[in-house]
Symmetry: C2
Subunit: 619 residues, 2 copies
Amino acid sequence: MAEKTHRVAFQPDGRTLTVRAGQTLLEAARAAGIHLEAPCGGKGTCGGCRVIIPHDAPPPSAACRRELSGEEIRRQMRLACQVRVDRDLRVVIPEETRLGNQKILTEGVERKVPLAPNVHKVAVHLPEPSVSDQRADGERLLDALAEKGLADLTIDVKTARDLPARLRSLDFHPAVVVIGDEVVHVDRPGASEACYGMAFDIGTTTLAGYLTDLVTGRVVVVASRANPQTAYGDDVIARIEYCGRQTGGARTLQALAVDAMNEMVAEACRRADLKPSVVYEVTMVGNTTMNHLLLRLPVTQIARAPFVAASAAAHSVAARDVGLKIHPLGRLYTAPLIASFVGADTVGVILATGMNESARLRLAIDIGTNGEIVLGTRERLIACSTAAGPAFEGARIRYGMRAATGAIDRVDLQGETLVLHTIDDAPAVGLCGTGLIDAVAAMVEGGVLGASGRMRAAADVAATRPALARRLIGSDGDPAFLLAGKKETESGHPILLMQKDVREVQLAKGAMAAGVEMLLEEFGAAIGDVEEVLLAGAFGNFIRPDRALAIGLLPRVPVAKVKFVGNAAGAGARMLLVNRRLRQVADDVARGVEHIELSQRPDFQARFAEAMFFPAGKA
Amino acid sequence: MAEKTHRVAFQPDGRTLTVRAGQTLLEAARAAGIHLEAPCGGKGTCGGCRVIIPHDAPPPSAACRRELSGEEIRRQMRLACQVRVDRDLRVVIPEETRLGNQKILTEGVERKVPLAPNVHKVAVHLPEPSVSDQRADGERLLDALAEKGLADLTIDVKTARDLPARLRSLDFHPAVVVIGDEVVHVDRPGASEACYGMAFDIGTTTLAGYLTDLVTGRVVVVASRANPQTAYGDDVIARIEYCGRQTGGARTLQALAVDAMNEMVAEACRRADLKPSVVYEVTMVGNTTMNHLLLRLPVTQIARAPFVAASAAAHSVAARDVGLKIHPLGRLYTAPLIASFVGADTVGVILATGMNESARLRLAIDIGTNGEIVLGTRERLIACSTAAGPAFEGARIRYGMRAATGAIDRVDLQGETLVLHTIDDAPAVGLCGTGLIDAVAAMVEGGVLGASGRMRAAADVAATRPALARRLIGSDGDPAFLLAGKKETESGHPILLMQKDVREVQLAKGAMAAGVEMLLEEFGAAIGDVEEVLLAGAFGNFIRPDRALAIGLLPRVPVAKVKFVGNAAGAGARMLLVNRRLRQVADDVARGVEHIELSQRPDFQARFAEAMFFPAGKA
């Protein structure tokens, strides 16, 4: 008798698996290569593997009722280890459940970050002053906070000015907001004790924000959107040039980023049913240009030799000084930078992957509009950046788009048949980064792309691969490859991959590959010495490593050495939000990493040119 | 043959000595009980005993030329050890020369404060950025400062915003101002490297300010003036009541104090030929009310049971936030407070006298409008305050005045003859604190005051002391004692000591004496156990201890145990200005001192009443 099976669709990964009935969701996710946080190993005791089953969630088990709140259970949250698959299911994996997973993937150990946020909101009961206890109001409050474990704080004189009236009107039972080492606000105890922060990864093309409960350390909402600065240039050089050309240009770009961040804060708070005024701190990682624009530091000198930043340090500023609309006394912490083109996002990747603590030789590649590459161990880390361009984020590609509903995210060549997969199985709208890699890999595999990356003439392919040859068509005089025909698309127009698009991929992957080679040489290591290749970036989780290897985007390592670490930069921002002690570590990392300026290496251009070829073509 | 002598007048002490010809000024000063800083013992090698001889200064010796600058020599500054008296001389003793002296007096050792100011101004030469040195501008600057010994600094984002343009316009050779741990200003290297601070003792009645060169640590100008807040009440309670009564009253008092401080800064800078913008930090000690008014902290709760301050902590704020006109980025540091009526001035006294480090049991009495008393050793310090009233500062006394030209500062009874001395030997204008003590002592000695402090009727005294009896006259129905007749005074009107004035002295000395008794009892010590009685306060240096003992202002100790420490509170403010590490010590002192609230002691009133009697009268 055939074993009974069901289909389980994992969101937002977009993977659908056939699962044997009776397996747990935790086992099914593992089989799909999706690792959930589960330090207890699936015994239902750690509360880590939380997933949401939006439709027809099974009744909560005893373990679910023990580990989850009533509100969570109402939201259809369950522990994946407690749910046995007995029908087709759609399962949403919350970001926080995945977080630990990424770390487990990269280190093989759980890297829990102890909860030690920079912001605390605590209710205190002060003894009222009397002639036998004449402590000043400020010291009375600080003593009470010290008893709660918040020692060595100070009270700003502005706060102290209101303190006597405030404490007396509250009968000496205030709720106190502490940021850093300072009491910044004395509030009514009846006021919400909600205390949130938001961690941002400000990418050149994409913004990601993680609204985080600073009492539990959990991410409650993830928000993302396109960076609206893209209208002024799709890479940092173009935007810096705009700032140099246009008076007030930097202000314009700053306002765009801050407005987007404010919208993300508002949206995330709305989804979590919170007011933005309960957000007390924002942490931010981003490349040097994003960092400088946000902080209103000058950028023009970044793009001119010798390419120096104004300040590589971490900064903590009043959030409202840069226009962020969180609590009026809230703070913005920007993580430190390594160099002009290796920014705080790379510091975030290093922190999230623990490269600064590991003895194993690892290579991290953060694929964004700039590709940052880090190689090394806790003894020595070296980094470089490459102008990969925004191709993998959907920009500069004729039918490119972000990874959203209808994006072609997977392309497989079966014989001569192209098998497409779209996000949410919707009619095709365009091509996202993973689909782009897959499509190019398929074209190499199918022999329609030469080693140089030039599309072959249909006539040359027709003899051996007639079906593929029919896809080689021109469009406005530019060679193109038909990916999806009219009937497969949302618009009714075909989706093509242009010769120019292939060139973009070649530039990106050539820059990345050459950068890796330069770092290995500088480090004195061979690619075979690298124990793990960590793939970071917003879309890193979705790349299929065999395809990335096939086109030479990744160095030639066994597929098993490739690990996905997701948006590790964003994970770093979250770590810096929930544990302020890591900020010192971040400073040490930022100043400790050696930066290699590729443009200054005489052999870089030659290697870059060489690396633009496709390996299959060379073979 | 009679030995040849000359007269030497010491200013501003107002003492004139007859000195054997050939003695050095250093020896003469010692004979007058004025101790100058002279760690080398008078060998001309330490440069400590600087004095100014305004008229006919002798030519500088080789030692003077070695130890003093050309400018100082032009200003008639000489080393007292190098000047042999060969004619009558007037000698001005600068405050800084006296400073070490006070400490030598109190501890028998020189308590030099290492120069470690909170402000530094340094010129740095940065290597220009290049492709082989791509450090950010901020880090480049911080690295160069670290090489100059200023490590672990930060650059505020506001400063960083201007940094790239500024460094380039200065060819990477800036002069940098560092306050605390922060780079606050990047200036032209040609700009003055002058770097000054000003230490303030803000008393209820008197303000003293010490303009200090933060490169050498030397006080360059001392400024003082009456506290203009006196117009709104001559003690702190009256001023607090004004603030409670009058909307905007606290603002008015704040503005008065700040305006006076600004005038003192301007005056001191004018005298030193400096611009106020080279003053980068102000330190301030003062009682709790002065501290709170200046910082715009609320004061009304200080005067209401249970008498609590808003904040007892040290604060460091932007000077311009409180209206201080120094460098636009300058800071104000206010020293921490012990209790509502034992303020930062007492912390200053403790630091200046080293009571927090000494094993010997000492008693410090700071005689101001409030009398603060501290007793103890480095193991335990206890303090209280008494409402002494402003009598010794010239207020509430009919003919009272500050210690200025024409003030009767000494009164001696020789037989039945009153011998008066006035400051600068000018015609009498009024009576300052020391003159007041002397006058009352003379009246007790002459039998014209009874034990209760009541002036006896002229008729009762006439038989035994006819000359003194003639001085007992009425004035507007109030008994009065004639101190100076018409011919002796500037105005041509007589100067009287009123019965009411005697009552003010009784209240003040009764409060002080009762406070000392309460502290001794609390500490479990007898007055005989006290090894030193330190007399602090603006006029402390000028009191004659035998007179203070005669009226019971000081506890009954041998005269030899009484030491003058001058304006020790101001000395504390100067120490906190030139050595920022002491600010941590000040915090420890402020929180470590036990405060005794006299009003809560059931037996205080009885002791107070008892202590108002005069000892001579009781004998």
